[in-house]
Subunit: 333 residues, 3 copies
């Protein structure tokens, strides 16, 4: 299974990239260096010397130049070889892969295939991260393939089982919920759970009158390859969905580290306790289940394992089909 | 190398299966749940939800129903889907594999292929477990392929080397022993070592007169795929094999956990010290040698490794040939 | 990638082989026993019983005989089966592989393919080990393929980066050095770095007059498959290379343990501190870099990874080509 290459991926939050040195990170199976140039712009080059393949991260950076620690070749941050210790013109082939990078929504997005195809307008809209309540950006690396995590997010009914202690809806998702799956004009797949006139979840009861009922919505948006946004809200029943609180909006942006591991970019309210709690949901609720799924599949292809398909899988299936089409189109090109 | 599927395998001793919950065990490479129904009967279903493949053992059991912990599908203990939280008829394809199980000789035996082929009369006879001295049933998981362990058992001459401290016969197996290999009417392969008029083993000397000699027998019986029974006895020489003690009869029943690991079912006299001692023979004498063999073979097929065949291998070779024939017949069908 | 088989490999230093028992060592992917016979001669046999493949090193040695610890077959140190506990003639096929071994330069050299092709005159000349200053022979096992280590040694310019603290030449290798690559009459590849009229390295300054300049040479010799010798010297400039000290000569003899690990035979001045220091260069300078290279290549073939070739690679490339030719010739034969 190859990675989709004509797409924007989040490489890192901007705050992760130091002003000197680099952030070394494996993305789409390859090692990369993410850097801040002297002029403040972002740079990304392969962490692999073209001479003997050793990581440049075992060498050193001097200003906007990288020097290999093995035989001394030097490169600028656009990946061009600019120093050959043996004298003479540096060989032209001795350059580092350097994908197009865009800084947007507080993160560095990169386009793995040719730069000329990289249209910044295609970066999914995560402006809400800065527009809502203050939050901290975080990343966690999960030891499973990114498509399994996207499946998990695209079928939020799992919250009733896996997150029953945290996000559960008291079963009202099943009894009072309606699921809608749609695709919007820029190709995003949406899975909308709308719960109408239901008993409120426990945490909301104190803010409601005796016997009052609520409407809730759990909406998730997916952009290929796996940049997701989650929107959650609650309203008193029959108030035209007038939110009781500002609705919640959260990024769940997945970038493959390898075929079997994923960088999971998310946000949480500021504070260490909040960081721990967010991480706990990933570590103790989602990851063990999705990892058990990966282990059970034992490397088998999803479709060859012949899953039973339920109506609640509609969005996940649509996303998987879209990725499959993208892979096929790229393989054919 | 595929597993033989038209055969009875021991899945667990009856005592291992709790009256509530389950015993989760990998058998023939797949994960299974072994359970006791409310009516006391035994049940066995795949520990793998057909929807997203996660283990049902990460969910919960309620009476005679299992519920998946990921998206809530419910199954009865025959493997049928009986609950779909999204409403509507549960999808027909959403069922769990549930092989035929028979309880016999204090164990749960299962037949991996179609139930209609599963004739309980083919379960090998281990009635002696309950008929002899009281014993405890135990199981140990060995990190080697089951055929290598069966080879080990089918050539008991190794006792003179590997078990020289415990079961050795003072070399009399070689000097006074006669080996007979035969196949009985229900297809079992027997390897019979009969030692005649030999110096007694050290442990028996105190019970014998000065210079008295003995007859001994070490008989082992093999049923495909790898259910073995060991029968050992000793008699004063020239007494028509009148046993000095009740002869010993022990099950050595091997069920593949995976291609490279085996559940080894055995019995031992009651008591913790006896359990430790039995386990010690497996852990310190047999397993290191058979594991070294597996490591030396490094995944190579037994026949392709071109072993030198000795007369003492006759029974093991016959068993291997029989398994090969069964595999071929199953592959052709 | 198969190993070259028509070549001499160093199996062990003579001092490693005990007068009783054996040295068990994996070489070219296979397990071997290296032994000293009662008459003092060296012997080498496969550490693998031809009956059930278990290591003979799990058995015992009695005089010049080895006995398998599993079923008792006995072998002499030429690999012939000389004892069959079941009586009768030992089967002829039951012999151990026993390559031709020669003791030379304080080491045991073996020839993996047919003995009749093994010409002792082809063993590379390492007489200098005993002719120079007293030294201790040592071996270290590195977790990388031997060709990557040979590449490292055949391009000594890496000393300016990786060994800048220990062997660096203050950059004069690049500014005043001239590289020559040649092949001598017995097929050895030489990489010669000759540095002329350069500022002396720091460690030599105290022994020189103010502003005095030096000539230096770093010469390395490679015999297939990977037996290297390093010759280093320093002279006052314009003295016709009259050495200031006796030049240094060191073996760097590489024998594959497996495809991904290598026994690295070397020498160092006598003493524990000297042993530690030599080992430190391997452990802390060379191995981390070469291991990072191996990890980056992730099993990919060197040529398929399409390395950029620099003029300084000429000797390493010539050695790689020669090995490739040898492999092809052996595959064709």
């Amino acid at each position: 299974m190859s990675f989709v290459r004509n797409a924007w991926y989040l490489a890192a939050w901007s705050t992760e990239v130091p002003s000197e040195g680099w952030l070394a990170r494996r993305l789409l199976g390859q090692p990369w260096l993410l850097m801040r140039c002297a002029d403040g712009s972002a740079a990304m080059v392969a962490d692999r010397c073209p001479h003997r393949f050793v990581p440049l991260s075992k060498g050193r950076r001097e200003g906007d130049r990288l020097f290999c620690g093995y035989h001394g070749l030097g490169f600028d941050l656009s990946g061009k070889c600019v120093h050959n210790p043996f004298g003479g013109e540096p060989p032209e082939a001795a350059c580092l892969a350097a994908p197009k990078v865009e800084e947007r929504h507080g993160g560095l997005w990169f386009w793995p295939s040719e730069a000329k195809l990289a249209d910044p307008a295609l970066i999914p809209d995560f402006a809400f991260i800065d527009e809502g309540n203050p939050c901290e950006r975080a990343v966690y690396t999960m030891a499973v393939n990114y498509e399994l995590i996207a499946d998990n997010l695209l079928d939020l009914s799992h919250a009733e089982y896996l997150h029953v202690e945290s996000f559960g809806t008291n079963g009202s998702l099943h009894t009072h919920g309606k699921q809608t799956v749609k695709q919007d004009e820029d190709g995003a797949v949406w899975n909308l759970w709308d719960i109408t006139n239901a008993v409120p979840p426990g945490w909301a009861t104190p803010m409601l009158g005796e016997g009052e009922r609520v409407d809730q919505w759990l909406h998730i948006r997916w952009h290929a390859p796996a940049s997701l946004a989650l929107f959650i809200g609650i309203a008193r029943a029959c108030t035209q969905l007038e939110p009781m609180f500002p609705p919640m909006a959260n990024p769940h942006i997945l970038t493959p580290e390898t075929e079997t591991s994923t960088h999971y970019f998310f946000t949480h309210p500021p504070g260490e306790e909040e960081a721990r709690q967010a991480r706990r949901v990933f570590l103790e609720e989602d990851e063990p289940m999705v990892a058990a799924q990966a282990e059970a599949m034992a490397g088998q292809d999803f479709w060859e394992a012949r899953p039973v398909i339920l109506p609640s899988d509609a969005a996940a299936i649509r996303a998987r089909r879209k990725l499959m089409q993208m892979r096929r189109a790229e393989a054919a090109a």
